[in-house]
């Protein structure tokens, strides 16, 4: 019964993906074209002859609706088109080169954040209102409030420039170059997860069934592991869906400061350069990643929370 429910749920979700994406594509397509200036505008003005050649090459001379349907046709074929700015590469190539980098850095950061965040949160909850709790939560608050464009240069200055232990930036898939960006990205997430975890853990520990479990004489560690952990981790899971999507699709700040070739800069640079195809490609890719991750969160939720059953929805 449950299996069937999940399958049906999955099918509905994936069908729902189509109108969502179509809406996303349409809005993004017209919005980037409404923005002032075009991909070939710069300080040096092009003579009309040359401008016309460029427009013809990239079909910008066609009516907007025709361009839109041409683009939709391309996407159905899985082709995001050539980048206007990086003329030697297609948008597909750029995304498939950028995404693994962002996914590695963001994924590791999320993993780190999840492990440390939950552990710290549980530790703080178990020692509620003690010095441990205050210290940890104070540091967490700092972690949330100090922006990563402050932490990142400090880390580079300390560990790369002065100590010389790690490279100052750049990318070659080695752990040495991953370490600083992963830490920088993970810090605020660790802090946020720790605070979430602490809050929900305290709430769960005060609930009736925990009191019952304790009254039955179960050892405290078992109470925590078997009864408190699963419900307490739910808010963290629902936070992690969108947070993971944000982390693995790249952060423009981190990428700039550490010179990492991830997806985030393509999005921002693409928008600033009015690189229509690149922006569209990244937006659609983001959309798919977010939808998929939210779906995974739903499944996890159902597994963790006995109060949610897909078959009951019907």
């Amino acid at each position: 019964m449950k299996q069937e429910g999940i399958l049906r749920h999955a099918a509905t979700r994936f069908l729902g993906l189509i109108p969502t994406l179509l809406l996303l594509i349409t809005v993004a397509f017209f919005m980037i074209r409404v923005a002032p200036g075009g991909p070939f505008d710069s300080e040096k003005v092009l003579p009309p002859e040359i401008r016309a050649n460029l427009d013809a090459k990239y079909h910008l001379d066609e009516p907007l609706l025709q361009q839109y349907f041409r683009y939709l046709g391309q996407i159905v074929a899985g082709d995001f088109g050539p980048s206007f700015q990086y003329k030697d590469w297609t948008v597909n190539e750029l995304i498939w080169r950028g995404f693994p980098v962002s996914a590695a850095v963001g994924g590791l950061a999320m993993l780190l954040a999840f492990v440390f965040g939950t552990l710290i949160g549980i530790a703080a909850a178990l020692r509620q209102n003690t010095a441990v709790d205050y210290t940890v939560m104070g540091v967490a608050m700092l972690g949330i409030s100090i922006p990563n464009f402050v932490i990142a240069p400090l880390l580079i200055l300390g560990l790369a420039v002065y100590a010389g232990w790690l490279p100052a930036g750049g990318w070659d898939w080695s752990w040495q170059r991953m370490i600083l960006p992963v830490i920088t990205l993970a810090l605020p997430a660790v802090a946020y997860i720790a605070r979430l975890m602490r809050g929900s853990m305290i709430e769960v520990l005060h609930s009736n069934y925990i009191r019952t479990a304790r009254a039955k004489g179960l050892p405290e560690s078992l109470v925590i592991r078997r009864h408190a952990l699963k419900p307490a981790i739910l808010p963290v899971i629902s936070y992690m869906g969108p947070a993971t999507a944000a982390l693995i699709t790249g952060s423009v700040v981190i990428e700039r400061i550490y010179s990492i070739p991830g997806l985030g800069s393509y999005f921002v640079q693409g928008a600033l350069n009015r690189d229509y195809t690149l922006v569209m490609g990244v937006v659609i890719f983001y959309g798919v990643v977010i939808i998929v991750l939210n779906f995974i969160v739903d499944l996890l939720y159902a597994w963790l929370n006995p109060r949610i059953r897909f078959d009951e929805v019907q």
Partner: protein, 584 residues
């Protein structure tokens, strides 16, 4: 409570460590004195470096700004791409380390009496990196490709001096009608529409570089990739990971391979200036593309031997919109605002990078041209301010009835600082009330072009080629970049004359007249001429400062570091000082 202690200790440790790092930053000499220093440069009689002073590993690591837009020389627009392309390819002409135009693939050339026809005699024994012979046919093919409407090259603007180029680009004439003709296998004739003194310089622009026909026919749009790209310059493309690095290897078939010392060059696209400086300080790159504007003092103190500042052929100025109130038909007001700003303060305290205060449009050092200097350039600042107040009042403004205007600029820390300083000078001297408006780059450019909302706007111009005309032409009536709405028939007539004048001295005189006309109309508020600024490892030599800011790697080489014995022998002599004389 027992558990609190270790955590607090750890925290205190982290805090101490962070503070310690901050503290060391201010300590003079920490980054400087312990840095290993190279041996002094010793040159042989032919001007090449003595092999005994060269480093064993001749690999250069260069910061290169943003990711290059393409390595197809005809499609490239950006400066970062041009840096790499000048290492990969060589045109009919090329340049020395000082930026002087010298024979490249062409051994020599003849210029016809009417200065409209150039005959190039190519070197006969040249080859592409794949071994194909390099002939005049390759240049014919390449120039036609660059002008072909289907190629849609933005930089084809540079080809417009060539006969029929405009018609070919517009699709009105076939590419075969482009004014380029093959006289024999190694002789090429290029016909121009009019005298173009900077034409030999244009041939050193990527748009005029040769591409290998077979290479393009085989790989199509993907020919400019590692393992595929065939080039004829000092280096070949060996690796390209977008936004990570571009690696070039020495081309053994290059005509001067024997004189090229560098074996490999890495170009890193590092967008963030502070990150680039950190990479330099960590010893990961030998050459930065830029340095952050706000770190000049610090760098000057800690990296005096590495910081290189040099004039560039660009001007920074503000423009007036002459089609709207309050500046339309109001030259005294425009002149008042020109006079009221103190350029010494703007360059020394605000820009801070050794930029030169400017009273004209064209920067000095452009191909021998001496820019027009208005009379007030020789006045003291107090005299200028006095005259500014007089003109301001003459224009009908006063403390009770102040001018209200705006300065518009594209979002950037530097523009903001400049606009703020200018606005406060106007306020202080004249009582002008200025609003600052910043906009995203393309929005700003569109507003400038439309001339509907702008009053005073930030502007700057960095030339593509070494000729003052590139600064003057945008003030022509109807020019696409005439965001000033300037229209003066005398000025336009002078530009027409410059276009047909083939006697150098007379042409210079005409350009001087045009600049004088423009400056007397107070169309712009000149501020300063640009400089290039970067950090260069003292090990890296062979390059020289030039106004073009072109630094092909083939002129460079790396000195070896001092050994322990040499360190003891000559500890006092700073190598930079010893080399400085040769370097300049």
């Amino acid at each position: 409570m027992r558990r609190v202690l270790p955590i607090s200790l750890a925290l205190a440790g982290v805090l101490l460590w962070v503070c310690a790092c901050g503290g060391r930053d201010g300590e003079p000499g920490v980054p400087g004195e312990r840095r290993p220093q190279p041996v002094s440069l010793v040159l042989l009689e032919d001007g090449s470096p003595d092999p005994s002073v060269l480093a064993e590993e001749q690999v250069v690591y260069r910061g290169n700004g943003e990711e290059p837009d393409t390595l197809d020389p005809h499609l490239a627009v950006g400066v970062p791409a041009a840096h790499v392309l000048r290492d990969l390819f060589e045109g009919l002409t090329t340049e020395s380390a000082t930026g002087e135009i010298i024979p490249g693939v062409a051994l020599r050339w003849n210029i016809s009496r009417d200065a409209r026809s150039y005959t190039f005699y190519l070197r006969r024994d040249l080859a592409w990196s794949n071994g194909d012979p390099l002939t005049a046919e390759d240049f014919l093919f390449s120039l036609r490709r660059a002008a072909d409407p289907r190629t849609a090259a933005s930089a084809a603007t540079m080809l417009l001096p060539i006969q029929n180029a405009r018609e070919v680009l517009a699709g009105e004439l076939p590419v075969e009608d482009l004014g380029v003709e093959l006289l024999d296998e190694f002789t090429l004739q290029i016909t121009l529409t009019g005298p173009t003194p900077y034409f030999l310089g244009l041939l050193n622009h990527p748009i005029a570089f040769p591409v290998n026909r077979r290479n393009i026919e085989e790989h199509g749009a993907e020919f400019a990739r590692p393992g595929k790209l065939v080039s004829n310059g000092a280096f070949t493309l060996s690796r390209w990971v977008p936004r990570v690095q571009i690696v070039l290897e020495k081309n053994p078939l290059f005509r001067e391979a024997a004189q090229t010392i560098v074996e490999r060059v890495h170009y890193y696209p590092i967008e963030d200036h502070s990150t680039e400086v950190k990479a330099f300080r960590a010893g990961e790159i030998d050459w930065t593309n830029e340095v952050p504007n706000n770190q000049f003092k610090w760098l000057q103190e800690h990296y005096p031997g590495e910081l290189v500042v040099s004039p560039w052929m660009g001007s920074y100025f503000f423009g007036y919109n002459l089609t709207r109130e309050p500046f339309v038909d109001n030259p005294s007001l425009r002149m008042a605002l020109v006079l009221a700003i103190d350029r010494e303060i703007l360059t020394e305290k605000v820009a801070q990078f050794g930029e030169q205060p400017s009273f004209s449009l064209v920067p000095p050092g452009m191909d021998g041209y001496v820019p027009f200097t208005p009379e007030y350039a020789d006045w003291t600042q107090a005299e200028r301010e006095h005259e500014a107040r007089r003109l301001y009042e003459q224009a009908g403004y006063s403390t009770e009835r102040p001018l209200r205007t705006e300065i518009r600029f594209n979002t950037s820390e530097n523009h903001k600082k400049m606009a703020l300083a200018v606005a406060s000078m106007w306020k202080q001297q004249l009582g002008v009330v200025t609003t600052l408006v910043n906009e995203e780059f393309r929005v700003f450019m569109q507003n400038r072009e439309q001339r509907i909302v702008t009053e005073v706007f930030s502007a700057g111009w960095i030339s593509d080629y070494n000729d003052p005309y590139s600064f003057l032409e945008m003030f022509r009536t109807g020019h696409g970049r005439n965001d000033f709405g300037y229209s003066n028939s005398t000025f336009d007539a002078l530009l027409d004359q410059i276009g047909t004048e083939r006697v150098r001295a007379r042409r210079e005189r005409l350009m001087f007249e045009a600049e004088r006309t423009l400056m007397s109309d107070h169309v712009i508020i000149p501020v300063y001429t640009y400089v290039t600024k970067r950090l260069v490892s003292p090990q890296l030599k062979g390059w020289q400062n030039n106004v073009m800011d072109h630094h092909p790697t083939r002129h460079m080489f790396k000195l070896r570091l001092r050994t322990g014995v040499e360190e003891g022998a000559a500890p006092a002599a700073p190598p930079e000082a010893a080399d400085a004389g040769r370097q300049e």
